[in-house]
Symmetry: C2
Subunit: 351 residues, 2 copies
DNA sequence: GTGAAAGCGCTAACAG
DNA sequence: CTGTTAGCGCTTTCAC
């Protein structure tokens, strides 16, 4: 078979172009300081031989691998239920591609895999890591820090000690939640309920906090715990209705949850938004646009978050200071710091 | 900052254990042919120093990189609309992990990226590739073949010439469709319609063929083209109803499409399944379980497909024949061949 | 069984 | 500007 068709090496190109390996290397890597005609000759040789640099050999000497790990904790199952994950990845991919960096995907499912990820990261296979682990008390963040790899987190890591400097990119969950609730208030709603997300995730906690910012110490019966899934939304909605039959609005921690709530509301004969106004979070198009009625929701730029994460990481790497590594205490040109992206309220029919 | 904390090398371990690099290497790679006590000494040294082999150096000599590329053609946007993609990846990831292989994700968005992918694959950075490109006339398959990398396709590549030997893993789309339609027939339905998927994808074509296998040359008005999205399903459903107000069943190319159809049906006052029975395809849980009524559908084992793809590829690689490479014409120990996984009908309330 | 030595393909000083 | 010279860290014959 075509098997190991021995690919041409620098040496081969050099021979063909009648120059030294060093010159070829220079040309291949940008070609500064090499005279035009030579550059041309080399280029042609490269072309003719179909030469492609051997990344392993290159990494060996440069100590760079032009690769970034994306670590996604599986318990993040939600990630498999909505396109969140895919969008985020798309953003990351675009940015990395533009930077000629490769995306190494690490999916984990529990302790066993943590060790593996730790080893991999510590193994110097990648220049940096993008880590999604928005669970409180997730061991991953610490693990990553210990690996000593420049890292940017997706979502505020739910974890304080030692993480002080962790660089992360997050949506303004709290602010977005506030805006949603204020909108409800502005609509004249008074009995506003909240269905939380999975409270072991910072985003859920932040949205709950935003809700409280506006509502103060609301009737506890107006808050029901969900888990970011439609089923969770249904259950929570039922509970809320039992506890407070007179509620006139609900702010759900995400669109999926809102979709579940909507179903229950309809099944129970409540009109939306007439009887009960509903707002979601995410603006997951396939969901938000197709609920009945279409969902008013808080949009976050998911792909943009991914993109930004990658950008922050790469910038740090380029500064060569390894700055994004929280362990560092760079003073002068300290690396990127966390970014919280704004959200926007998207009005549709449900509120 | 913690920067390039110079990681220990084989040399260091050797020194510490009082042996030669060769011995350490042997131990690290399985430790056959090294006496027990020495193995122990080396193991300890590795432990104490926190030694992790440098993959670049290793690849340089072994010509293996313990990495597999997963190429996903972005037009595959559907992939971002349902968890298909994520599930598939999960399966792949599990298998690769078990095999100590890394997953390099390559997302493409059109021509420009094709070149990049081609270069990457041809660059020998990975041992093999898993390619998702189920579009007819997609240039990707040929491109991959040219790169000469062992490859397994996800879904039957819609592409004949030259591809003869392409190894792929697919669901029995046609068979599954047949079963669905037969079920409808068994229910006594006579005016059975079909909403197709995006017909530039083999899965959509195969499901349509399955439909025809049972229905023969049905009234063309009973077939409407969709695109695997809920919106497409809605549009198609409206068209069908206009052309054949008396239809009593519809087989949708996937669950998302069915969900759209369901919405239109309800909006128009048709009861499901009483007036119109509906069957989907995929058994995408978050969708199928939560439509109203819950969707009867054809299940395919998506995660299993991903897993199998990886397994086939790895097996081929291990055989060292590079067998999965379609270009090869290995005769004796020829590599894995394509696999079509069975589907099962899952009965819920819609049909 | 174990060690010594020879590279894998490339980049990065350092001369010229 | 261009060529020469060292290795990067590891595996792998080949002797001992």
């Amino acid at each position: 078979m075509t098997e190991t068709a021995p690919r041409p090496t620098l040496e081969a190109v050099a021979a063909r172009a009648g120059v030294s390996r060093a010159t070829v290397s220079r040309v291949v890597n940008g070609g500064d300081g090499v005279r035009k005609p030579l550059v041309e000759r080399v280029r042609r040789a490269v072309e003719e031989l179909g030469y492609v640099p051997n990344q392993a050999a290159r990494s060996l000497v440069t100590k760079r691998n032009d690769a970034v790990a994306v670590v996604i904790a599986e318990p993040e199952t939600r990630v498999f239920a909505d396109p969140f994950f895919a969008l985020q990845l798309r953003g990351i991919s675009k940015e990395l591609t533009a930077h000629d960096s490769q995306l190494v995907l690490l999916l984990t499912e529990g302790r066993a895999d943590h060790a593996r990820v730790g080893r991999y990261l510590a193994g110097g296979h990648v220049d940096g890591a993008l880590v999604f682990s928005l669970h409180l008390q997730d061991p991953l963040p610490q693990l990553v820090q210990r690996a000593g790899v420049p890292t940017v987190f997706g979502g505020r890591p739910g974890w304080d000690d030692g993480t002080g400097g962790a660089v992360y990119v997050d949506s303004d969950n709290r602010g977005g939640a506030r805006e949603a609730v204020r909108h409800l208030v502005g609509l004249g709603r008074r009995r506003i309920a909240h269905i939380t997300g999975a409270l072991d995730q910072t985003s859920a906690v932040d949205r709950l906090d935003g809700f409280r910012d506006v509502m103060g110490d609301a009737d506890p019966r107006l808050i029901a715990e969900g888990d970011f899934t439609p089923a969770g939304g249904e259950r929570a909605m039922r509970r809320l209705l039992e506890g407070c039959p007179d509620l006139d609005a609900v702010f759900a921690a995400n669109d999926l949850t809102a979709a579940g709530a909507l179903r229950v509301l309809r099944a129970l004969g409540r009109r939306v938004p007439d009887d009960v106004a509903v707002i979601g979070f995410d603006d997951m198009l396939p969901v938000a646009e197709h609920t009945d009625p279409p969902l008013t929701t808080v949009r976050q730029d998911i792909e943009g978050m991914g993109r930004l994460m990658a950008r922050l990481l790469l910038r740090g790497l380029d500064q060569g200071t390894g700055a994004p590594d929280p362990g560092g205490s760079s003073v002068a040109e300290d690396g990127p710091s966390s970014v919280v992206l704004p959200t926007t309220l998207v009005r549709r029919a449900s509120a």
